[in-house]
Symmetry: C2
Subunit: 417 residues, 2 copies
């Protein structure tokens, strides 16, 4: 037989209720925060990600699913959600709408990584992109939204935050950092040597202990912000405090992608087996739209991995609301299929969840199956009932049984449910 591709996963019929629980919360927040859903294709021209995500990122360098389509175009399965949304914003002239434009997406993402717990080659992300506002209110709204998202599952998150600064203060800081790093370079890892050339900021979050030990006295981003950026960062921190949004400063946090410019953040989970992983993260990327050929537009947003979030919820013992679909089982002791299915139809049209026998089971086996489905009512139809235009209704919760007119059935059940 043919197996599932390595590093990918099925969500089985008896597990999808967990996804629904997460998606319901997303719908709720979309309403509360006035977010509109945007959907972009699963693949884009490869160039979009090279320009949008950046060629110093691991994603672009090592992990993309890139191939030629039948028209010899280089196509890449999207490794993250932001670049496609930004491309759509530009291409469809969405900047012509009154700003801000607050969008969200749910999308598969593809990264050719070594498969391990919480890291899949295809995973799904929920993300938000807010276009058009460079004011701290929009940064705070992102924090509030994510905070509400976690709150809905009974979790009070702490944000690790940092501030990368605008192009101006960034240029100054990058020079300082390059100056500091240069003498250590020959002892640092090849990745850091590469980062030094392409985006020196990213040496700050190198995972190698040796590299980190050399960076202890490196100049800090937060000490090198221009007045305007420093004021914005202060305002963000102050407002977070006022609103009860928990945070800690992480001066080395730069995120794995090249496009961030202002505030950046992550929500970390420290787990025994997989160590420290980010459940979600994001920040401000005011240059992205321009870098992709659009009119300069501020953007702030985040992404959150659904699979990893569900694993996290499971690890803390979160109880997902179950979905019990079946209100009524119609047990059939007659060959009159049309009669049975018509009963099912009437009840379904009234919004009830209904199952009937599709397996030609005997009455006893049908009761057993109805029991397995843990449905509230069992409607029994034999020849006797049918001829009298009646049905027998068993209420499994009240442990009662009544014979009623067929035409009263829907009403009878709706009243008792």
């Amino acid at each position: 037989m043919v197996n599932i591709p390595k590093g990918t996963k099925d969500v089985l019929p008896y597990d999808s209720y967990k996804w629904h629980a997460v998606y319901k919360v997303i719908d709720k927040l979309a309403k509360r925060y006035n977010l509109k859903e945007i959907m972009t294709p699963t693949f884009e021209h490869t160039e979009l990600f090279v320009r949008g995500v950046g060629d110093s990122s691991d994603i672009v360098n090592k992990e993309m699913y890139t191939f030629l389509d039948k028209g010899e175009r280089s196509i890449t399965l999207k490794p993250e959600g932001t670049a496609g949304v930004a491309r759509s914003f530009i291409e469809n002239g969405l900047f012509n709408n009154a700003m801000p434009l607050k969008t969200y997406y749910k999308t598969p993402c593809f990264r050719y990584e070594k498969p391990q717990a919480g890291r899949l080659r295809e995973h799904h992300q929920f993300g938000v992109e807010m276009f058009g506002s460079d004011n701290p209110e929009s940064d705070i709204e992102i924090f509030m939204l994510l905070n509400d998202f976690f709150n809905e599952f009974g979790i009070s998150p702490t944000f690790s935050i940092n501030y990368l600064g605008c192009k101006e203060c960034n240029t100054v800081y990058k020079d300082k950092l390059r100056g500091y790093v240069k003498p250590y370079l020959k002892n640092m890892c090849p990745d850091c040597n590469n980062r030094y050339e392409k985006n020196v900021l990213r040496v700050l979050d190198c995972k190698s202990r040796e590299c980190q030990s050399m960076l202890v006295d490196a100049p800090k981003l937060s000490d090198n912000l221009c007045t305007s950026c420093a004021e914005k960062f202060d305002k963000i921190k102050q407002t977070m405090q006022d609103l009860g949004l928990k945070f800690r400063i992480d001066t080395n946090l730069v995120r794995g992608l090249d496009y961030y410019t202002g505030v950046v953040f992550e929500i970390l989970n420290i787990d025994k087996t997989s160590g420290q992983t980010a459940l979600g993260g994001g920040g401000r990327y005011n240059n992205l739209v321009e870098d992709l050929g659009g009119k300069s537009t501020p953007v702030v947003g985040f992404g959150l991995g659904i699979e990893r979030f569900i694993l996290y919820l499971e690890s803390i013992g979160y109880v997902f609301p179950e979905e019990n679909n079946v209100d009524v089982y119609v047990a059939s002791a007659t060959d009159n299929m049309s009669f049975i299915l018509n009963l099912a139809k009437l009840m379904r049209n009234a919004g009830l969840g209904v199952e009937t026998d599709l397996m030609a089971r005997g009455l006893k086996a049908q009761f057993k199956y109805a029991d397995k489905l843990s449905c509230r009512f069992v409607v029994i139809v034999g020849e006797d009932e049918m001829n009298a235009g009646e049905v027998t209704v068993k209420d499994m919760k009240a442990s009662t049984q009544e014979r009623i007119k067929e035409c009263q059935l829907v009403q009878y059940i709706l009243e008792r449910l």
Copy 2:
């Protein structure tokens, strides 16, 4: 700038409410019919589709997005939804559950086709697969479900149906058809010559008029069913009639995929610009699971293209329910961001859709924007109000304005909404 890949489409923020309307109906039906969602990866090993969809189909022959991943495995973006679900059914031992197993999926599908109206290289499908029942009740349930789906949009569909028959009657019929077709072959199109070898049934739905003209006197499938299949088909037709499910027999309907065995059907739309297209279709494929290496299991199901269905709804003037997210706009005439955002937080926690100013607009521009959002309430906060712990609430519907205590705001709005 980088453009969207040819033949793909964005769903823009102001269009996604149409998708939500369709997805809401799917959720509703999932509840009523006790369907469980299953999610399978976006790509599978290429072999799955060659074995599952069949190598006489146009999809497998011409239209697949196939490529080598970094591990040199041949991978294909799924061209349809069924093969992946069947693979998952086998690989995860879902046959060990009590049958039937009633699943549904919403998935992107990829076909390298010539882009035209309603035909995209990436489109989305809603589909249902019912495993485990070979009884006509399950065929009927599929028809009822699709009928309900269309009914929810005010449409009463007509099913074009045919019956392909089991392996036994099929083998006999295919021989007869091959015998009939053989003398015409040299005048038939290359595709039909290929189909003659691989799956002769598919000559029946050749789009070429010349080929069709040669098939006028071809033996009919429905005249060549074995007794058991003929009885089943009769029972299906009778029950459809009893339940008010409209249908017509189309003796040439075989569907474009190789895996069908029993009843097959389509819901056709005749459109001025794109001619006759199928809005949805499906049928029974009792050999598929076995062909893929699993234990013989009957399956019946259907697929429906979401983009094409939405285009159809638009063409008949269907009015999609709009999503107005914003109940309250908080207009700010103060620099106290925390005060404003805290008001928003309180109202959002109560489930209200709330917008505040993210653009540093003046009060007049904020009113204009609030008007654009057509929100019911505008809450105005100036220094004066703030110092008194109050807010001014304008009810845009009742055209009233009141100044109330800040702590009464949520209650005030909930009572009037």
